[in-house]
Symmetry: D2
Subunit: 422 residues, 4 copies
């Protein structure tokens, strides 16, 4: 059962990359999953990077399957953001439109490990885009080339334990000017990837202009991970997974000092940069979830063919058929909607695609949860365990009903947009 080929018109280059990436995932990455999982299960090694991962990265890079998310072969060719200086930093983007990249993102979503192998994993992709569009050449120099080369990793410290971060204007971490430095004190959490031993740089969002209007109070500043006062408090778990070695951590900042020159863009532009960061990232997240759901469906079908109960293969039972058929219907629809959103983003930009991007954020995580849950059910208790990718996949999909805004916020926002537009 292959996914129905969509009739959206992908470029020849996209189609070739889809095939190459699919082959690499199937032949190189999926077979290595067990080794990665064993590495992460071993208390002695789990917070280190498995050497095989770096080897696969080198291999992918050599094949040109690298930084495919970058829209511009030169530099990142989104129509340049008004606030974005032309830094001229040389990069190696694939030059794909959002629509052309979307099916590639789907394929990388099939394996937990694939996005990093292609240097296309969150939060680095969003961070690289922010650095390209909003950083000065001086700000880019120490980090961007090494991120593009996959030598270091980065994290994005936005969510805070004490406020409802779904409303980004609530972000409250004080970033206080002290002479020619900013001083940061406080806590962030759910900072994904900060536990990675290769994580070298944080983008931290906090309040620099406490007296400004609500949407112009925050700024983003670059905080090297080794700055004194930055401390990983603990890894957080999602269900029982801590997603070592990258992790989702609680960070504390105690008198952390960075030069004023580490601020990205204008003072008070943090909210605007956060918004600009979101559009393509949501497409990526949703397409990866669709890839994950597609793999769960394939596993469900395989299991339903092999496993027998009450004298028939599971696939001969009506309720299993229902699980399989409805999952297919839901995946196909979510895929088409997300491709539509990608095409709208290409054609109309963040603002013109806002409703559609909101819709996929509402639809895809819930869909993936339902499909994976059905796949678990068809696998029996084994589906809950470490013997299949399903339970961990569920945890990831479930977290995306909250990450980057809970479903309810996107639902209300879409409805309000429709009520206004009427």
């Amino acid at each position: 059962m292959t996914p129905t080929p969509t009739l959206f018109a992908f470029s020849e280059r996209s189609r070739q990359l889809q095939a190459d990436v699919a082959r690499f995932v199937a032949e190189r990455i999926v077979p290595a999953e067990a080794a990665f999982a064993a590495h992460a299960a071993d208390p002695a090694t789990r917070w280190s990077i498995p050497p095989q991962l770096e080897a696969l990265k080198a291999e992918a890079r050599a094949l040109g399957l690298w930084n495919l998310f970058l829209p511009d072969p030169e530099r990142g060719g989104h129509p340049r953001h008004p606030a974005s200086p032309d830094t001229g930093a040389a990069t190696h983007g694939a030059g794909l439109s959002n629509l052309d990249y979307a099916p590639i993102a789907e394929i990388t979503g099939r394996s937990l490990y694939a996005p990093e192998v292609f240097n296309c994993s969150a939060p680095d992709t969003g961070n690289m885009e922010v650095l390209m569009h909003f950083a000065t050449p001086e700000q880019q120099a120490p980090w961007l080339p090494r991120l593009l080369a996959g030598e270091i990793r980065s994290a994005f410290a936005m969510t805070e334990p004490d406020v409802a971060s779904s409303d980004a204007t609530n972000i409250a971490l004080p970033i206080v000017r002290d002479g020619d430095h900013y001083v940061i004190n406080g806590r962030k959490w759910w900072t994904t990837g900060a536990a990675d031993p290769r994580c070298a740089i944080l983008i931290v969002m906090g309040v620099t202009e406490p007296e400004g209007p609500p949407h112009e109070r925050q700024s983003m500043v670059l905080v090297p991970m080794d700055t004194p006062g930055v401390r990983i408090v603990r890894p957080l778990t999602v269900f029982g997974y801590d997603d070592a070695p990258h992790g989702h951590v609680e960070l504390s900042f105690e008198n952390v000092r960075v030069p004023l020159g580490n601020r990205l863009g204008a003072a008070g532009s943090g909210f605007a940069i956060a918004q600009a960061r979101l559009g393509p990232g949501r497409i990526h997240h949703c397409m990866r979830l669709i890839g994950l759901a597609q793999r769960a469906l394939e596993a469900m079908v395989a299991r339903a063919r092999q496993r027998e109960a009450f004298g028939r293969p599971l696939g001969g039972h009506g309720m299993a058929q229902e699980a399989i058929a409805l999952s297919r219907c839901e995946i196909e629809q979510a895929r088409l909607l997300t491709l539509q959103a990608a095409a709208a983003l290409d054609a109309h930009g963040n603002k013109g695609a806002r409703d559609l991007v909101g819709m996929i954020k509402i639809v895809a995580p819930s869909m993936a949860c339902r499909v994976i849950d059905r796949a678990i059910q068809i696998h029996g208790a084994a589906g809950l365990s470490q013997d299949h990718f399903l339970a961990q996949a569920y945890a990831g999909a479930r977290s995306l009903r909250l990450a980057d805004g809970p479903d309810e916020v996107h639902i209300a926002s879409l409805a309000r947009s429709m009520l206004r537009a009427h």
Copy 2:
């Protein structure tokens, strides 16, 4: 709030027709709905045709908005079915592919009355296609030109009260050869349109080869409505609607005699013709449901803006926002899936598009039921009444979870196809 323009590549001709049909529906048909409803509510007139309907048909035909469902400007340009003689009957198809026609079908679905105004209503569309592909010129002559001209209507008598007709091999009406005639005795029901005073011809499916293999027992025969022994037993209701003046009726056949030459195609080909009839018809049904759901959503939004409760417009309440946003998400997805199925039908034919056509049959009627149900809820009790189109729309959408095969049959069939293909 206009529907999101899909990024499927419609032809210029399709886009122009979409605009023309949309204007005609909005400006000519929707304003006439109240008059049509009053005509159908009046016991004195309800089983007759409102004169305004014929006037609108003439108007639409004069504008070239006619028989748009016909794929071939010459004759119906599907690759000719192997069993289909080349009759050369002149018709006036728009020459649209399934993909190009689909959004037009959506627009006609917005009003109960629109499909007929454009001579694009079921079951006549399917019947005309059967006559084009499977009838001899002699069989076509008395009926097909007049159907294409909208002068007469037709019905398709397949479902039977005593068997589960979802399994078409169960169809049991005996059509017995007696010299050079067939003699028919028995009952059919849910024969849509047979009560229309203009209904002149029935296509009747029954068993002519009782000893044949299961899929080769039935044939289809042409039975003029005025043949002695054909009798309308009663109109059936769907919820409380009898859908006068067309109706869904129970028919009895008592010693109904037609010449052997009235049989379409080879003896025993009834099942095969029924299958061939289905693909495009399902696309049409589903797109019309999407148009209906879209209109319900627009009504929901309008109501949520205007009506106040507990000190706010309904649209300010979270559960109403949820109803609105989820409906939008579900409509967009079902629309894209149905367009995808139409494109697959164009590219790969009935067989290659089978899974996708099955999926839309599973998805669209349920989606329309949910959306319309939410619209009713937001309208309060008024939404259940004759003051809005919603309750009748619900009845129609609900019946399509059963017509042409209940959901469960399509779900099982899709799952089995996937389990085989694996």
Copy 3:
């Protein structure tokens, strides 16, 4: 398959009545349903009362199966409402607690016609209770004895077309004092039963104290149906059903004059009386819905045993099994919850039972819709037609997701009560 006997402790009298009513419904009423339906389908008779109905009423009354909803054998023995004068009107209540009456209400819910046969049908039951508790002997004399005897019927005119009546403080019909009369001008709708030829008396709610605080603006007044200026504008339909001969009608009031003495209770007490009317009525409605759902389940099981498709009885197919099993689970739970609410109403009164009564109003109508919808699906298209009770039952159940407050209002109200109580 009999309903699971609940282990709530019903009184011996209740258990005996349950058995008697069940037998009467099964042996006398259900067999007459076809005749009643035919009477209501015939344009010549449909707005008249079928003679057989009055005969069954007489029969039931002779057996003592009459006014069973009345809690007090003397007069209606709810702890007397503070505002309720002691009128001493002789009645014939069964003296059952809410818990004891609930299973009887369930049984009467199995047939559309049963509640009236036992003189236990809405809105008369609520109206009789209002007359008992809030009317003076002079106000009771012309109406209450005849209502208790089943000689006349009554209606309750509250909902208005122009306001969201779910918020009862919105009720706006002006009832203006003019000397020693009230003069009423305006419109009501969804006045159930007002089209019944035996309907003699309306209880009309409207604004008598426009300057009062929001909850003390309305009063209820008695308006004899034959008062000049009272006019039935039209019957309203619910999914195509007008529920003749009782109907749900739009009423217009043009200079309708009634004596000041027709006002029930104090000026401005309308809202309070409306609230007091609700508790037991909601139990009755919900239990009847449970009886309806139970009958739908029994029909579903019977159909699943008899009908064959794809080589097996429907009941051998997994999705049909799912429909059957889940329906049983949902019915049992809703029944227990409603009995719990009835017991709480007996033990703690309207206020103490408020959360539970809110819960059953949220749960039972939706549950009945789901169960009946599944039963329709298992019956195929026949389930949508007049050949089964299911489609009309669905319409009734669906209307109860709106009548007496839409689901959303009860959901919000329950949540707020919980948030306060915390």
Copy 4:
């Protein structure tokens, strides 16, 4: 917000114990949860027993809150199973009926740690019952008194990796007679509690009579945990949780020899004993899930009161109200249904209560999953982490949609029972 007091008639003794257990859980166990969690999170201690747990057990036992699940104060007073010898073993049951124990089980379900504190945790409860009813005094002596005293723990090895264990006749582990011993070779998994350092005894189900009829092939044998050849292969995870220190493990048996006298009951009686073990156990599981869901609801309400977003507490938003109100409705219904099943078990035994016990197994785990999932959503990402009990609670509830038979098996079984009974 206290749970609605049910109106089922609990004995005075049950009501007193409910109050005592509730107080103990709230005042002694819940405050210790953080310490237990820290113990289980520390790699150095996680597979050992926290000393505080044994202290709490002693405390509970001293208060008489011990072995409350045991129905007979003398010995376990179920009507003795025909196959059950009268062993006269002294125990300390509370003498509660299933109905009286059910609300106590609910309260213990509020905390992961509570069931063990009261010596009422699975699988020991079921194992103790099996030992009481089916073991000889010689078989009981080394294990039963120490289990009743909470000195040792036990495990039940039934599920196997290679067969669909939902169909218990599939159980295939060979238990081969060799002289006066049985020799066991093979694998079991999901053996809960076997990793507990105090686990001393396994009840192992396997095939002793391979030629017997399907339901008489298996027997159960007692296998001391320290028998040579018994090996814990690995702990299994449920959504990342390994539930240390008890665990759910994979076991291997290599030439494990036990005397023939270790077989419980007759040869081939394994299936029958497994069935007998289930009824009360399902009540316990479901009531504990209800307690867990109730606690999640209380957490949801508390969070909705405290947390602000978009200018209001979460509880002021419609979709949060919906989550809260629907959860309450679902919990109340599931609780009543489970109490009803418990009452039926008391009144009619396993067979007479079979449908109701099937219903709660279908209803309660799904309900708990939905309620806990909503609570997670209202807690935001924190709800997924180790900072709240919710994510781990979800994992437990989700596993019960599979443990002891997947939902689908119970749904099909209930439907078949209804179709037969009709």
